[in-house]
Symmetry: C2
Subunit: 337 residues, 2 copies
């Protein structure tokens, strides 16, 4: 690359944009393939039922303990596609770059996307780059959209949730949010908190193999945390959810940081965790499959679905009392992902 | 909507974001359907070959003569998907909103996306919203990604370009770029210039019906204009391209504005035009099909592919001399789309 920083001309559609695509994006993402420069990707699928999702990423800072915006952009969409049991296959990547952004940082981020794509088993097959004037964006924003193949023909959706179902989470809550806030606030802990950003498709595959159609619903509790996901489940299925606080896994450092900062771990973002609603009968088997996967070692059964209090999530606290766990009302941590 | 402007909490993952999705996005985009709030869309295709593309839109101003950022975001991706002959079916939409952005403007833009989607025959099936602090974006940026179905099983690609092929354009050049710059610079013309933003899938269908496999390559000359598209064709196919300036359609107002501003219409962006490379034999038939379509009335045969001067685009000027038409070298109009 001739330039050390991104110029407006890198988004011009002309020579410099072609150089950027060829000398950075294609070289880093597809080192072994001849450069293809069409505006679309021509793809073959093995079946004709797909899962399609998109997310934009505006996380601040762009490099954080345990990951960066590039990795997050790949795993975030991989996870959304996977939540219905589909196998993620193809991603698009749209970059909005601020004029003056260091090319070196862009290259680090794209390399991180390449590694994350490889780890998730997806290919980044099409993309776009826009450059805006200094001050019209903050460094870099990335959108990914993704296509997964639903070859197992499952029907995993909040509409399947039934009274009696168990609520399973795949590990400790709040790691991503606290990793981000600790950088922003300059906090340091004895044992550093790192983001949990990870691709969940492998874990989901194991859960589906163990539980089949008994896995009723799945979602990754990102922005808004576990509380928002469970409230969405309760509202859309017209059921109540009861949690047992003592069973909810939270790392000691994270719960300490939450106390210090006045946060509740139930509202803090996760980027490598899922919550699943599984039939009462199949829950132990699915939980055991989760615990055997490297991304599910801290999995736990944290509560159940009930026919009473439809639309509400209620938690039995460690002190024995009960409290309503509402959806996040205001804003807690802007630009967490 | 309770708020008149976008709040950081509209991107929180919590209550306000849910309200925004339900009360604005879903209400405007899918007024006749029950609200679905999963993080992915579960879709059925009729075949298993697809076209996949993405674009982010950062155009400034967001409302301009002949269109707005919402319409542009739909048609831009619809057109990219269609350039291989696929039928566009599904779009995703990712919004990055600046804190303080008027909800009224967002609603106008989303309504415009709904109309554009209807006109193009696509459905917006999944989305995402992020909100950044005031000053970390400029009003609104939109990413769309799209899936088209390649049921005709064509192979339209720059690799098919052969010496002797004709170069066809579907109408006048430079309308979009001049419409945008006239607003930015406060210029007014006797006959106002409006953006040509339009969905090209219907026109393409007619061209493919007329020409079949004789339609070798197609692309929409957006950023970088016709010159950049033709240079990309010449480079990737290893051929030369010769243009005849007198045959290139440009509106009088646009060529006047270009003279005034020091632009060359060959480098100015279009948003509702395509350039096609078609076999010598089939070109008259394809051109006639183009002229019969409402978006192709000003179509023209502007030159041909040659085996000499590989990688170069050369234009015979109206004065009888020849000049090299290079790819856009610097930046001409940032944030044109």
């Amino acid at each position: 690359m001739k330039h050390k920083t991104i110029q407006l001309a890198h988004g011009s559609g002309g020579r410099l944009m072609n150089d950027l695509i060829r000398d950075l994006f294609l070289r880093v993402l597809h080192p072994d393939q001849p450069a293809e420069m069409e505006d679309f990707a021509d793809l073959r699928l093995s079946g004709n039922r797909i899962s399609f999702s998109t997310d934009s990423f505006v996380v601040d800072p762009i490099f954080f303990p345990g990951g960066d915006i590039g990795e997050l952009a790949v795993y975030g969409t991989v996870n959304d596609i996977s939540m219905g049991g589909a196998t993620p296959r193809f991603l698009s990547a749209g970059f909005i770059l601020e004029e003056g952004f260091p090319v070196e940082d862009l290259e680090k981020i794209v390399a991180s996307m390449a590694r994350a794509a490889k780890k998730s088993g997806v290919r980044i097959v099409t993309g776009d780059t826009k450059v805006v004037h200094r001050g019209s964006a903050d460094k870099i924003y990335i959108n990914t959209a993704g296509i997964g193949e639903s070859e197992l023909d499952l029907n995993i959706s909040s509409s399947q949730i039934k009274a009696g179902d168990r609520i399973l989470v795949s590990g400790t809550l709040g790691d991503h949010g606290i990793a981000i806030i600790s950088v922003r606030e300059g906090l340091s802990f004895e044992s550093p908190v790192t983001s949990d950003t990870a691709p969940l498709n492998g874990l989901i595959r194991k859960m589906v193999e163990a539980g089949g159609a008994a896995v009723h619903a799945m979602r990754d509790p990102t922005r808004g945390g576990l509380s928002s996901t469970l409230n969405e489940f309760a509202e859309s299925a017209g059921v109540g959810i009861e949690l047992n606080e003592a069973d909810i896994p939270v790392k000691e450092t994270v719960s300490g940081a939450c106390e210090l900062l006045g946060f509740d771990p139930l509202y803090v973002a996760n980027e490598g965790k899922l919550v699943a609603v599984v039939s009462h009968e199949a829950a132990p088997k699915v939980l055991s499959a989760m615990k055997q996967h490297e991304l599910g070692t801290d999995s736990a059964d944290i509560g159940y679905v009930t026919g009473s209090n439809p639309g509400q999530v209620i938690m039995k606290t460690e002190l024995g009392s009960s409290r309503i766990v509402d959806m996040l009302a205001g804003e807690q941590l802007p630009r967490i992902c």
